[in-house]
Amino acid sequence: MDQGKFEQIESYLMKNMAPDEKAEFERQMANDAELRNEVERQRENMLAVEFGAFSGSVTRVAKQYQQENPSIGPTRSKGHYWAIAAGFAALLAVTIWAVTGSNRSESLMAEYYQPDLGLPVVMGVIDDPVFADAMVDYKVGEYDEAIGKWSTISQDVQNDTLSYYLASAYLANGQPIKAIPLFKQTLDQPGSAFEHQAAWYLLLSRVSLEQWRAAKAIYIDQNSPYSQQARELRAKLD
């Protein structure tokens, strides 16, 4: 997209257009699906910027509040020097995170992540032919195909097998953000056969997004076949 078109859309979204210009632009949009898509995409990106800036502002205000109210802050004050030391430690941690964060996530995923192998595709194991067809796509690494097919089924059917494998396909396809709610949905089904797998891959989804605190908070049952790996991985998150 050229700069002129970008600035025209921006002007529309920021409500800077004159009424006649706006009316003409809306007429163009009504007849041009691609333009409508561009407007929505730009609206979303502008929202992401505003959201990111607001989140940063909240974090700064929270820190300021904590400094001004040490008696009720998150760390019980044990003295000024401890606070300074904690500040330096936090700064060091942030610096290390900034330098190594992405590499750390990638190396941990390379070490611990192996896509789920999928279900055997034989008669009698999977009754639904669409589901079985998508499972074949999944097993040969055609994740987009599998996601497309499973997503059409998921509008009608809600079960833990479907939510788990759809989540697995998203994660394997590099879409952990979409995988997370589906793994959670699987875990919410009492007695699910995929409970252990879903918890483990949910943890890995968080790791891939560098959400370290959320990753550490995920409960892995000690009877899970992944408990040992999870312990090792968690130790590396500290």
Binding site: Q42, N45, A48, V49, S55, I177, K184
Partner: protein
């Protein structure tokens, strides 16, 4: 953020006017208009809101097996969720903002307490009171927006924050950063094109909005 000095003052005047005149004009509903979410783009207003409403969330979390750090986490999460709801038109203009943020923070804490991570550690009989936020969809959407923003480098964040969030004009930003305005316009365009490329790429498609 650099703000015009009258910004916080105007908010306080508006708040005072509402507190003084509100009961006469609107009866019990007057206090619902004390804050607008978008006022909170002003750090002074945000700080005031934080000081006024964080203590009640802190008390609630501490009384329900949490720490002060937990309270701070859920309060911050509730603030950004509220802001996003407001931007997406999901917040009634007359909502009591303090109460709204408290309910979201409370729900987030109850969800966390009930999560599997806590099952073996504490027993708390809790029930979610309402559905002020949008649960999983909202979380996915927040993660998606954070993910997009995280892809920007520091220079782009500096420029785009000032333009889209602080609503400064390009000439001001150019002067602040010591760049001529035409170069600044091009830099901003390139920064936004980076986001456009990311947004359209595999692996970052949008969670659907609930309009």
């Amino acid at each position: 953020m650099e703000l015009p000095p009258w910004s916080l003052l105007m908010h306080r005047v508006r708040k005072l006017r509402i507190i003084v005149i509100g009961p006469v004009l609107w009866g019990d509903h007057y206090n619902r208009m004390e804050y607008s979410v978008l006022d909170m783009n002003d750090p002074g207003v945000l700080k005031e809101f934080y000081s006024e409403h964080f203590p009640s969330v802190r008390t609630y979390v501490l009384q329900n097996s949490g720490s002060a750090q937990d309270a701070q986490d859920v309060f911050q999460e509730a603030l950004v969720a509220t802001w996003l709801n407001a931007k997406q038109g999901k917040l009634q203009p007359e909502s009591n903002l303090g109460g709204y943020v408290f309910r979201i923070a409370k729900n987030k804490w109850l969800d966390r307490v009930r999560s599997a991570a806590y099952k073996n550690e504490i027993r708390v009989e809790v029930e979610r009171q309402d559905h002020t936020d949008n649960g999983v969809d909202q979380e996915a959407r927040i993660e998606h927006l954070q993910h997009i923003y995280a892809q920007l480098d520091g220079r782009c964040k500096q420029i785009l924050d000032r333009f889209y969030y602080e609503k400064k004009d390009l000439a001001t930003i150019a002067e602040e950063l010591g760049v001529d305005i035409n170069s600044m316009r091009t830099i901003k365009y390139r920064c936004m094109m980076k986001l456009r490329k990311l947004h359209g790429s595999k692996g970052t498609s949008l969670p659907q909005k609930e309009e």
